[in-house]
């Protein structure tokens, strides 16, 4: 029910994904009339793929602007809650949603808990880099403040993801800072840097500055959720502005618009590659299950991409891998009381370290 396009995008994406993946089964959670309407609008297709689609009527819907605290107190029969219960019970292996991120995070923590003493999951997505590669950036807003211990967690989780999902042998990990010298930055990033230097199994590259995210020189960039959120959203805004200016350049500055016309397919391809400056599908890392957040502005193709992302994480059993590697490599000093999201009322990271 979430995202800018609602069931129109999610239902169409579901059918697209079922056709592309013959062994995929999907459950859709939402208000039955809306789901039926979206299904009815689809072109008649392959009936066999629809046999792998199950609709679940959810009476309630979590509003885009609902606070996580009120969502936790609220209805258990919202589409988000019902979807996550289905993962918690083992009936489904992963959840994908374009809904309210804070609510998704709070409900996911309650339904699935976290692994290896992680107090609060991190959100991560891949951004495109030079050389047509990509780089995972985390956290993107779940932890608006992060002490050194949390930054180290993010580095460990990002590294596991890049290794398992992308098959990189030794992902290159870096900490985002205002300079590359060891004396720069906050106490948290300096302390995290010192700790990460002791991780011999990790290809830790030290500090990078903001431009390093797009350089193609590293595979994982770690920062607190405030910084990551600001950087990602600023990048989206800048990319949209730049693409608009490229188009205006071709529309306005030519006596004949022939060149603009000829350039159109190239510009369309470019926009597809770069707008909105991330591959759709952000992973909630550190949960006891797989949850992928689709961007609110994603269309059916984008949402289908987020479904593929979830499938990759299922194939690699990412939560178990994270639990295993974090337990091995991370000194477990967080209190167990943090393991389950109990209140979720505070948007900040509440570590018990």
């Amino acid at each position: 029910m979430g995202g800018d396009f609602g069931p129109r995008a999610t239902v169409s994406a579901a059918v697209r994904a079922l056709q592309a993946h013959p062994r995929l089964h999907l459950s859709l959670f939402g208000q039955q009339p809306a789901l039926d309407e979206a299904l009815a609008q689809l072109p008649r297709g392959d009936a066999s793929s629809l046999s792998r689609l199950t609709l679940h009527h959810s009476p309630a819907v979590v509003a885009e602007d609902a606070k996580p605290s009120s969502v936790l107190r609220g209805s258990k029969d919202s589409s988000l809650s019902m979807m996550l219960d289905c993962v918690a019970s083992g009936e489904a292996q992963a959840a994908v949603s374009a809904g309210n991120t804070g609510a998704l995070m709070a409900l996911s923590r309650r339904a699935l808990g976290t692994v290896a003493g992680i107090p609060r999951p991190a959100i991560s997505t891949a951004v495109p880099t030079r050389g047509k590669g990509h780089c995972y950036l985390l956290d993107l807003g779940a932890n608006v403040e992060a002490d050194a211990g949390r930054l180290v967690d993010f580095a460990l989780m990002g590294e596991v993801m890049a290794r398992r999902i992308d098959g990189l042998e030794r992902p290159r990990v870096a900490l985002l800072n205002v300079g590359i010298e060891g004396t720069k930055g906050t106490a948290s990033v300096r302390e995290a840097d010192a700790r990460l230097r002791d991780f011999n199994h990790m290809d830790y590259r030290g500090f990078i500055e903001g431009d390093g995210i797009y350089s193609g020189h590293v595979d994982v960039v770690v920062c607190d959720g405030f910084v990551g959120n600001a950087v990602l959203k600023a990048s989206e805004g800048l990319a949209r502005m730049l693409i608009q200016r490229v188009q205006q350049t071709f529309e306005a500055h030519w006596g004949s618009r022939l060149v603009g016309f000829l350039a159109r397919p190239a510009l369309r391809r470019l926009r597809g590659e770069l707008d909105p400056v991330r591959y759709n599908g952000a992973s909630l890392l550190g949960l006891g299950g797989i949850v992928v957040k689709s961007h609110g502005s994603a269309d059916a193709i984008g949402f289908a991409h987020a479904i593929s992302r979830a499938m990759q994480e299922v194939r690699e059993d990412l939560p178990s891998q994270l639990a295993h590697e974090l337990s091995e490599r991370r000194p477990v000093i967080a209190s167990v009381a943090c393991d389950r999201g109990d209140s979720g009322t505070d948007a900040r990271c509440q570590t018990n370290e």
Copy 2:
């Protein structure tokens, strides 16, 4: 002596600025042989403009990677120090440098002090926005942590700059956050938001997210120096990557390269507009004098732009305006001991509020 191109760019920029502004006088500080060499390489031009140029030999140079603490202990006859002494004595009205930012900041505080109880200056530059406007972003790294009081200072200073330098009647000011709801973000931004709502003279627009920087809807965006630095540098990196991809799109994907060839002037203009995603010349705001930092990668045209920026601030007498308006509108609760940069050894903001 600073920047990627050293005196080659600064000397050429100086002559360019003297030719453009018939009443401008410039003093250049650097090692005499390097200055002489750069001057000798310039095309023979208007001798009358060179009569307004004075060369000052400085035996020492501050290294790009020198720490502010060691620079403060070090030689007083570096080009940076001598330039700032010249401003402190009133011999010059503004300083422009492409050198080590941390050293420039520390030496500027020592030589010029700060106004209105500001504990530490902020760095601000303009970034391009939709609709071909621009927006001031601050802080860009001088204060890697900023409490509510500092964020309010940044808002006040950015507002004065946009009003005085750009002639805007009521600049629109916003606080950068991870969401637009009042419950989002750190305690500092929420507290700063509450305080700014009480400033009736200011057109305060509340929180914006990262993409709002480039939207054209606000004129000043306030955040701590860590976030601002990360956002600005990520934007520079992204813009370079995007422009490279636009070029590759035209070079690789066309049977004939005719379109790419025809598109070249438009692409060149675009690059000029957007790379490196800021108008060159970052202001150090809150000092008892005018200091403008030119980007290290700026060429002679970019450095000349930074000189123009300094001239604008001289015309408006920006430090006095800031001192006046801050004293009127800001509750002076910072200790006077902060007024002069005494040690500069810590990269963090040390407010006594």
